[in-house]
């Protein structure tokens, strides 16, 4: 050989030539095929813009996209928006959209779809967007087909984390404009921009999605099909997972977790986020417009009467913790850790009710309350009913299917007590504000169900959203929690965790989010 350099170059070339194919061969092969996901309720609708319910988003989030996507740490990454800038005063967000994105029907996606979705859909029907943005958003502009600018009345820090497909899926303007959004047939035959296209929906049974061959993210998705199987019984979906009838379970029954972990055939991962939102708290709702629930002592008594430790043990199977504040302990910078606790104290509860003037009548009953229970949440209802019996409150539990229960609670407001899993979101402005602001007392699902009004709280929420400094915002949220803890419009029961379980051969499901299958693939052929 001539010189060291030449030898070195040849050496490197040789290594590269042999090493590269070796490296490629050593990488796990990626296979497509079908992914079968078990879900516990029929979606009800496939339009993620008009509901925050997790059964709907479990499916819909694979059909649509948001401007951003949240990674496993819940930080925003590009989705429909390639990049974005925030104005120094925090009052304008400019998004540059990806190019050559098409809807599943072939029409081009443009910024006007974003503008339309926010103005005509999200701000009217999506509880968290409506509750959070309506009072601060000034305008949405689409100056060019690939630019969207959001302008706010005040500096607004909490926008990016609510621009993902769970919080703000972008809908096709050309199919929804001028129609009755709630009755539009595409709520059942959706057309999105997402990694999977809608194929068919057999109500109560399954939804089938197929690969979007012209998805704007090159190389994705890998899977050919995603099938969502409706299996209402958790025990039977477990069996289905073990038998291979389904591949992915987004909520493992807690009793089965140790056994599944021990088995090598499955991957088990804990998460606090999901298609219904993140940092969720099972919350009891008082209808403040129905006496005697307008009496603070009555509400306090009810809170003392409930055995929340037992709820964590029996209802959640240990997968959760007692809620100690209106904001989840998981959102550390905003959670108020120094609120006076409400332990399980039956004597105190009875005393409060006596003080409030509600003595025991015939059969030891002080008064009756109607409690709307969604059938998947019936166990919590039974514990609450039993606990309230101890203090002389006779609870009439009305079991309804999930969506029907939400409609009766939020639209008809025909209840005394209700039970809702309110998800905080990574930022309280996303999922907490909508529960307490007076402007969100609306016939919209998952809004301010208690009909709580407090001008100081309204003001504080605006202040908190108007700063970009987490310390300042945290201070405001803590003050809100003090006030609300005192006023008790809700009774915060337990924070819920969940374990996701799936076949060991599946890789890269985005299990913390709604669009689980975008990057997922099999390492063995299916």
């Amino acid at each position: 050989m001539r010189s060291v350099t030449s030898r070195a170059v040849l050496g490197i070339v040789a290594v590269v030539l042999t090493g590269a194919p070796l490296a490629v061969a050593l990488q796990p092969a990626r296979f497509g095929g079908a992914l079968v996901v078990a879900t516990s309720s029929d979606p009800g609708t496939l339009n993620g813009g008009i509901t925050t319910a997790s059964p709907a988003h479990t499916v819909a989030d694979s059909i649509y996209n948001g401007l951003v996507q949240l990674d496993a740490q819940l930080k925003p990454t590009p989705d429909l928006a390639e990049r974005w800038t925030i104005a120094p005063d925090g009052r304008a967000y400019t998004f540059t959209l990806a190019r050559d994105v098409r809807w599943h029907d072939g029409q081009p996606f443009t910024a006007s779809d974003v503008k339309f979705t926010y103005e005509q859909v999200l701000l009217k029907y999506h509880a968290r967007t409506r509750g959070g943005l309506e009072s601060v958003l000034e305008s949405v502009d689409a100056p060019t087909p690939t630019t969207v600018i959001f302008r706010f009345k005040r500096p607004f820090g909490a926008f990016l984390q609510r621009a993902d497909v769970t919080e703000a899926p972008i809908l096709p303007k050309h199919l929804y404009e001028g129609t009755d959004i709630l009755q539009n047939p595409h709520n059942a035959t959706p057309v999105g921009t997402g990694p999977f296209k809608f194929k068919e929906w057999t109500r109560g049974s399954q939804v089938v999605l197929v690969k979007n061959e012209t998805y704007f993210k090159k190389g994705l998705p890998v899977l050919d099909q995603v099938i969502f199987r409706v299996l209402p019984q958790a025990s039977l979906s477990m069996v289905a997972l073990e038998r291979g009838e389904v591949d992915y379970l987004d909520t493992l029954p807690p009793a089965d977790v140790p056994r599944m972990r021990a088995s090598k055939a499955f991957t088990i991962l804990p998460t606090l986020a999901g298609p219904g939102g993140s940092f969720c708290i099972n919350t009891g709702v008082f209808n403040l417009t129905h006496p005697p629930l307008d009496n603070l002592k009555v509400r306090q008594a009810i809170y003392y009467a409930i055995n929340r430790e037992f709820m964590v043990l029996a209802v959640l199977g240990g997968l959760g913790r007692v809620a100690t504040a209106p904001v989840s302990a998981g959102v550390r910078w905003a959670h108020n850790a120094s609120l006076p606790p409400y332990p399980h104290d039956v004597a105190r509860a009875n005393a409060l009710l006596d003080e409030a003037g509600f003595g025991r009548g015939a059969g030891g009953v002080r008064f009756r309350l109607t409690y709307i229970a969604a059938t998947p949440q019936i166990h919590s209802a039974e514990v609450i009913r039993d606990n309230l019996r101890d203090v002389g409150i006779d609870v009439n539990v009305v079991p309804l299917e999930f969506t029907a229960a939400q409609e009766r609670t939020f639209v008809r407001k025909d209840f005394d007590l209700a039970f809702v899993s309110y998800c905080n979101g990574p930022d309280p402005d996303i999922g907490v504000k909508r529960m307490y602001v007076s402007s969100n007392i609306q016939p919209v699902l998952f809004s301010n169900g208690a009909s709580y009004r407090n001008p100081r709280v309204d003001e504080l929420f605006d202040l908190a959203a108007g700063s970009l400094d987490l310390a300042v915002r945290g201070k405001h949220y803590r003050e809100i929690q003090e006030i609300v803890w005192r006023d008790l419009p809700y009774f915060w029961l337990v924070e819920t965790f969940r374990d996701v379980g799936f076949n060991h051969d599946l890789r890269d499901p985005q299990y913390w989010a709604g669009n689980i299958a975008e990057r997922a693939y099999w390492v063995k052929p299916r």
């Binding site: 059942a188 109500r203 049974s205 309804l400 029907a404």
Partner: protein, 321 residues
């Protein structure tokens, strides 16, 4: 008159009967608490949709006119739209009918054929060991609640032994076509069909046994034996006489089978009409519930008609008056 005229007459009589069922649902909508529009249009609609419903059903008009409009709408097969799904109720029902027909039909046939066969076979050996065994098991069988039977069957044959799938009508992966699909459906059908068939089978076999014993005690049997006819023919003759009243009972059992189907479809997540009715009840989807009631009644009337005709065709003695 002929069989044909009889059938036509029966069909003609059935029509006002079905309209009466619709009248029942109309009455319920109006005596239930709240605004009738709520039961027809739900809560989540826009004002424009409510206006449409009010106009269509004439909710501001006097009651007799409302009833007339309602019956007119129903007679045209228009049961409104599902409150939950927005789809026309009738098309929703039609997609579910085949699954229920398959389940109920197969259970019906199996329970009738096997039940009658057992009853006929065991009667000649009355008081023997086989007879007692059959009597005991059928007594138990006719008291078994169908959903318990289903649960136990699922527990044993699906969960423990793994011989059959736990739920559904087809497996989730892919959609095999042709024979593979039929076999897949059959595999899913076995347990729910068995669960549904157990109780009627037990009841029919007991009844058939009873009627067979009565027939065997009749004079014409002695005559036949005296004539030296072979035993098999004698038995067949007795069976033909015995089966007639049983056929009526079997036909009358159709309604109970639908009840059983609702429960069985729930245990096995079978995607049929029973599940639809239950889901609609839980979601308070009134138009769907009312639609299922009317359609199920149509089915019952048809089955009664068919049973009557079968009876009339088989028994040469009756006239079609």
């Amino acid at each position: 008159m002929s069989l044909l005229t009889y059938s036509v007459r029966r069909v003609v009589v059935a029509v006002p009967m079905l309209l009466s069922v619709a009248v029942l649902t109309f009455v319920l909508v109006h005596i239930a608490p709240g605004d009738p529009a709520y039961y027809l249009a739900g809560d989540g609609g826009t004002p424009a949709y409510y206006a449409l419903i009010r106009q269509k059903f004439g909710l501001d008009r006097p009651l007799p006119e409302q009833l007339a409009r309602y019956l007119w709408t129903v007679a045209h097969g228009d049961f409104g739209r599902s409150l939950q799904q927005g789809q026309p109720v009738l098309s929703l029902i039609i997609t579910r009918v085949p699954a229920t027909l398959l389940l109920v039909g197969s259970a019906f046939v199996v329970s009738a054929v096997v039940g009658v066969a057992i009853g006929a076979l065991v009667a000649p050996r009355a008081n023997g060991f086989a007879d007692r065994a059959v009597l005991g098991t059928t007594a138990l069988g006719s008291a078994l609640p169908v959903f318990w039977t289903g649960l136990l069957l699922a527990l044993l044959f699906s969960l423990r032994l793994g011989w059959f799938p736990v739920q559904g009508m087809m497996s989730s992966r892919g959609s095999p076509a042709g024979w593979a699909r039929a076999v897949d459906v059959l595999h899913h059908l076995i347990l729910p069909m068995t669960a549904l068939a157990v109780q009627p089978l037990a009841a029919f076999s007991r009844l058939m046994r009873l009627k067979m014993l009565e027939a065997l005690a009749e004079p014409f049997i002695l005559t036949a034996r005296a004539k030296g006819l072979p035993n098999a023919r004698v038995m067949l003759q007795a069976a033909r006489n015995a089966v007639l009243p049983v056929v009526t009972v079997i036909g009358g059992h159709a309604g109970a089978l639908v009840t059983g189907a609702v429960l069985t479809e729930t245990v096995f997540a079978w995607p049929g009409l029973g599940r639809l009715a239950l889901d609609a009840t839980l979601t308070r989807d009134y138009p769907v519930v009312m639609g299922v009631v009317v359609i199920a009644s149509v089915g019952t009337v048809i089955i009664n008609l068919v049973t009557d005709l079968a009876y009339a065709a088989v028994d040469p003695r009756i006239t079609y008056a």
